[in-house]
Amino acid sequence: MSILKIKDLVHKYVTYGDTEEDKQEIAAIDHIDINVEKGEFVAILGKNGSGKSSLAKHINGLLMPTEGAVYIKGMDTKDESTLLNVRQSAGIVFQNPDNQIVGTTVEEDTAFGPENLGVEPKDIWTRITAALTGVGMMAYKEASPNHLSGGQKQRVAIAGIMAMEPECIVLDEPTAMLDPEGRRHVLSLVKALNKEKNITILMVTHHMEEVILADRIIVMDQGKIVMDGKPKEIFSRVDEMKALGLEVPYATELAWELKKEGVNLSDTITTKEELVEELCQFV
Amino acid sequence: MKENKVQFIAVTAMAVALTYVFTAFVNVRLPIAANGGLIHLGNVPLFIMAILFGKKTGAIAGGVGMGLFDLLSGWTAWAPFTFIIVGIMGYVVGAITEKHDQYGWKVAAIFAAFVIKIVGYYIAEIILYGNFVAPITSVPGNVVQIAVAAVIVLIVIEPIEIAVKKIGITQFA
């Protein structure tokens, strides 16, 4: 079943210079088509300014298409009457955990979404218990967010989305401001939500190691989709990735360098284990 | 527009927080007096946010921000007066600068706020202290406070306005 359908989407920002006439239009998204099935884990890559965040905001109805349309479960994001439904079905998590936590305690923040949806107080409690248990932050439910580490705060932000019981979560560089440990925690949580709760995930990131396990990778450049496929397939196109100003996982890079020197390795190496395995066949 | 309402709430909330922070924690030590030379800068965010975002934000930033400080810090009895007086100050600064862009009007707006503060607190303290003379003691403090805030605001307002314009956040329609 298709959960997200983007049809010929264009988004133009208007920017003003020092004078009113000095007006410029930037096409941040330039004729994009995407179809995402329920339960998929999609990673979105692309260098700075390629339009990833703009795309993410469209999925949540935070931006409105200049041209084309975005459908969540068949609902057009342009339709005012179903906008809350769209936002409930497709939650978004941003980069800076501090700027998306509204409540002064963890449980209050988790309750914010359900409160806005008009959920009865006793149902809110069951929802936040489920959400906080899900992200492993139940023990901190009465804590102030200011006393949490970055990774913990980001997990609270995810719990806030989970409490709205969405079917799809968009994460815009959720690990960019975290340290390695916080990053590991958030990533394993996102993977678990995808595998265990069958939540569709769209994750924007700059870290190639984080997306090896995605079902699918979409690469954006200058507002267009330039690659779309399985990680193994995308990462096998090392030259193209480099030309786009991106990297590939360490193992892929090493394998690629070795192949250039004439070592006979397969194209689809992405992890350390695969690399070691193949090299050891020569022993 | 609907979008703007949430943005208004967020920006104004941040203005309230800034006013609180500057009232509670940001002080300038005056080089003149050894003892009572410490003044808070709570008026700075109030003026800046009123100039940037208009009268409603100004009124709430001032009234709620400084009122909240009074309410929570043992000046509870002053809180309702602060809410009204500083609220009006923010409103007036915002209202004047919304209409007129020129620098001179900013000065005038802050001067108006200055008068409101002095007169307002004088009246409030007559009610609180029950006489006409004791409230005069707080006048010099208020004068210096606003004067210092005014100087700071008039220096920083231009770079902030430019920055805010460049990052693309402007007044709510």
Partner: protein, 286 residues
């Protein structure tokens, strides 16, 4: 010529007035012209440590010497020290404030007594060093992209012409290209201008690529300190301290474990690549 810490401890004051040591008995010497990396788990005290190096925070106990002079002796010119030891904090672009990029970079040197003209000259030089296109100099710093802002902020510290340049996670939040540009800039500053670099980083691979010496912090104490090859040989201990060894070293270890003829202590892509090819030749020879 060095910065030396002797028995430095530091406790943040807590609401409960309980002493909370962020640094415990740290002894270190940072010599001129080194390229040092500081690594450690979150909250291990890295940021606290570097703020001691230019007198931004004063140790609860212990001494800090700059060129063998106690920086907390009476009359020591702390402000001058801050000109010699520049610190670039995390997300330095959040501190930009002037209306033009050039003015912002001039701010540091002018605080240290340079005239406007002198400051401008230095600023232009530094902006060139960080590779910012000249047509941007008169623009507002708020118009730039994240990576460009980061470079302006770095230029702002460089313009104080520091002898020691400390950077707290300078690549956080940048894309791969932006990250490489910043790290290569540091390398260039170190090699060409002989500036001592002290880099705080969470990326073991970057540390392995760029640094010479590594300081490992663990719960406020120096856990290891020395040549990077030596430090990264403590795989188990580092992992227990919430760190890791660089990817390439992991590959080498696993290959070696499985009988592939390769050294275990290689750290970078280049080294590893060469060694694997060498190893394959050996294997073919047999």
């Amino acid at each position: 010529m060095s910065i030396r810490l002797e028995h430095v401890s530091y406790a943040y004051e807590d609401n409960s007035s309980k002493k909370n040591y962020a640094l415990k008995d740290v002894n270190l010497e940072i010599k001129k012209e080194e390229f040092i990396a500081v690594i450690g788990h979150t909250g291990s005290g890295k940021s606290t440590l570097i703020q001691h190096l230019n007198g931004l925070i004063r140790p609860t106990s212990g001494k800090i010497y700059f060129d063998d002079e106690d920086i907390y002796a009476d009359g020591y010119p702390l402000r001058e020290l801050r000109g010699k030891v520049g610190i670039c904090f995390q997300y330095p672009e959040h501190q930009l404030f002037e209306t033009t990029i050039l003015d912002d970079v001039c701010f540091g040197p002018m605080n240290f007594g340079k005239t406007k003209e002198e400051a401008k000259e230095i600023a232009i030089k530094c902006l060139k060093d960080v590779g910012l296109p000249e047509k941007l100099y008169e623009k507002s710093p708020f118009e730039l992209s994240g990576g460009q802002k980061r470079r302006v902020a770095i230029a702002g510290i460089l313009a104080m012409e520091p002898e020691y340049f400390i950077l707290d996670e300078p690549t956080a939040g940048l894309d791969p290209v932006g990250k490489d540009q910043i790290l290569n800039l540091l390398k260039k500053l170190h090699e060409e201008k002989k500036i001592t670099i002290i880099l705080v980083s969470h990326s073991m691979e970057d540390v392995a690529d760029y640094a010479q010496r590594v300081i490992v912090m663990n719960h406020g104490q120096v856990m290891y300190e020395g040549d990077k090859k030596e430090v990264f040989s403590h795989k188990k201990e580092l992992e227990a301290a919430g760190l890791a060894v660089p990817f390439y070293r992991q590959v080498c270890e696993e290959l070696a474990d499985r009988g592939f003829p390769i050294q275990r202590d290689l750290l970078t892509l280049e080294e590893t690549k060469g060694a694997i090819i060498q190893g394959l030749k050996e294997l073919r020879g047999k």
